[in-house]
Amino acid sequence: MAKILIVAEHANGKLNPATAKCVTCATQIQGAQIDVAVLADDAGAVATQAAAIQGVKRVLKIENAANKEPLAAVLAPQVAAAAADYTHVFGPSTTFGKDLMPRVAALLGVGQLSDIMAVESAHKFRRPVYAGNAVITVEAPQDKKLVATVRTASFQPAGSGGSGSVEAANAKAELPTHTRFVSRSAAATGRPDLQTASRVVSGGRALGSADNFKIIYSLADKLGAAVGASRAAVDAGYAANDLQVGQTGKIIAPELYVAIGISGAIQHLTGIKDARTIVAINKDGEAPIFEVADLGLVGDLFTVLPELEKALSG
């Protein structure tokens, strides 16, 4: 029987919704027992949240002052130690999980499966390659531990109302001191988080300047949406790096995605193809974004957006 350990992602005492998405992925493996590991200096609050995810049996608290910041080199040996009794070890395919999980896998002497998008069985999965231009079916060996990351855009978060137990885990390992946290600069915008927002408004190169990009923020605020950007807009300096949506940026799955002045390069489309409804506004009626949009409007964004904002206010 599959015993799955999921490594929780969290910050500031809050569990990241990516964890509940990993749980959904794990529940698709028949008869699996699902536990969650919380590595922190003080895991209490996060462990309580993890225990409330439906489908979680046990939450393992792995507490250590060195776990205050999520440094892969420090966390990996502890995860590897905690993984001893498990058949599968999952983490989210976020920058946290992508940084940590391969290090865990190598310490365990096994390979890793990246970006699970669908479960076929306990050892058979589908995942995207070539920036989403192909989807492969992959079989993992039955006689080895399977370390994997879960493509969070492919799974809905598991519900709350569960009642898993919380216990301190024994994950003794020698922790390195060669890697030290210095600082983190998160843009405090007061807007929803791009990765998890149910609505996202994104701007592309057609905005033309960082100053013009402000109309994206304005529309996003009207809709209560997070702000995203195409790679072209980020490269041109119109928007910050962490707003980039696409294969090399964030892969998201909001209920509503509004693409404004974005032509729709394949690497951008890869990042949004799991969105429920895609709205595209673009001057060029031939833009590839219209091939995937549920609702398309050909027009100059500088005329359309003020009209749209007015309509939303009315």
Partner: protein, 249 residues
């Protein structure tokens, strides 16, 4: 003075629209342009800049792949790498095996830094750097957008979901490059000529004594599920009405 090891993977060129073979056995690669993985090009550029600022004495480019991979290594040499090593194999090498190969070369070359691209744009695994750092028991600084060397330490700014994170690592260490670390230089014709004379060693993967057997089996390739084409609206009023109908407003 110290060495920097850089990994260069041969991949289908960034501009090629990759297509799945009708029989599902792979993607079409016949007659398709092959190039250095773009993230690896950024890794090499960073290594060259560090060397040019006096932070290293030698930049060695390494690739694992078939004989044709020499082309990408020659491009790396033309960019400015000092010498190249091709670990030759005709079979696909998984990230763990690639990390084991790099570890063997590290034992031989004792570099201060290993810089790899954060992921190959073919298999999109994003694993090799992290695995190498684990096997080597050294720090990893993944998804780097800024690298500052300071004696036996490096300060690396990383692109993470929440924004930018800065960590400090002791050297030697593994760094993986993100898109905005730098903009790679163009290769000039005289440099291509010069690169032909630079040293390129070829080693068979078997001679390294590395277990390169595959752990995963890919049983099928399929094109991605297509989104059905939606409807075009003619103005803002129609757009708002359609959004209301979908319950989104």
């Amino acid at each position: 003075m110290s060495k920097i090891l850089v990994g260069l993977k041969r991949v289908v060129d960034y501009n090629v629209r990759v297509r799945v073979k009708p029989d599902g056995t792979g993607v079409v690669t016949d007659g398709v342009k092959m190039s250095i993985n773009p993230f690896d090009e950024i890794a090499l550029e960073e290594a060259l800049r560090i060397k040019e600022k006096g932070g290293a004495s030698e930049v060695i480019v390494v690739s694992i792949g078939p004989g044709d991979t020499q082309q990408q290594l020659r491009t790396g040499l033309a960019m400015g790498a000092d010498r190249a090593i091709l670990v030759q194999t005709d079979t696909q090498v998984e990230p763990l095996a690639a990390a084991r190969v790099f570890l063997k070369l590290i034992e031989k070359e004792s570099p201060q830094l290993v810089i790899l691209g954060k992921q190959g744009i073919d298999d999109d695994n994003n694993q090799t750097g992290q695995m190498l750092a684990a096997l080597w028991n050294r720090p990893q600084a993944t998804f780097a957008s800024k690298v500052e060397l300071d004696g036996a330490k490096a300060k690396v700014t990383r692109e993470v979901d929440a924004g930018l994170e800065t960590i400090e690592v002791d050297l030697p260490a593994v760094i993986t490059s993100d898109l905005r670390l730098n903009e790679p230089r163009y290769v000039k014709l005289p440099d291509i000529m010069k690169a032909k004379k630079k040293q390129l060693d070829t080693i068979a993967i078997a001679d390294l004594g590395v277990d390169a057997s595959a752990q995963f089996k890919t049983t099928n390739y399929a094109p991605p599920a297509a989104r059905s084409k939606g409807i075009m609206v003619k103005d803002v009023a129609e757009l708002v009405a359609a959004l209301k109908q979908k319950g989104l407003l």
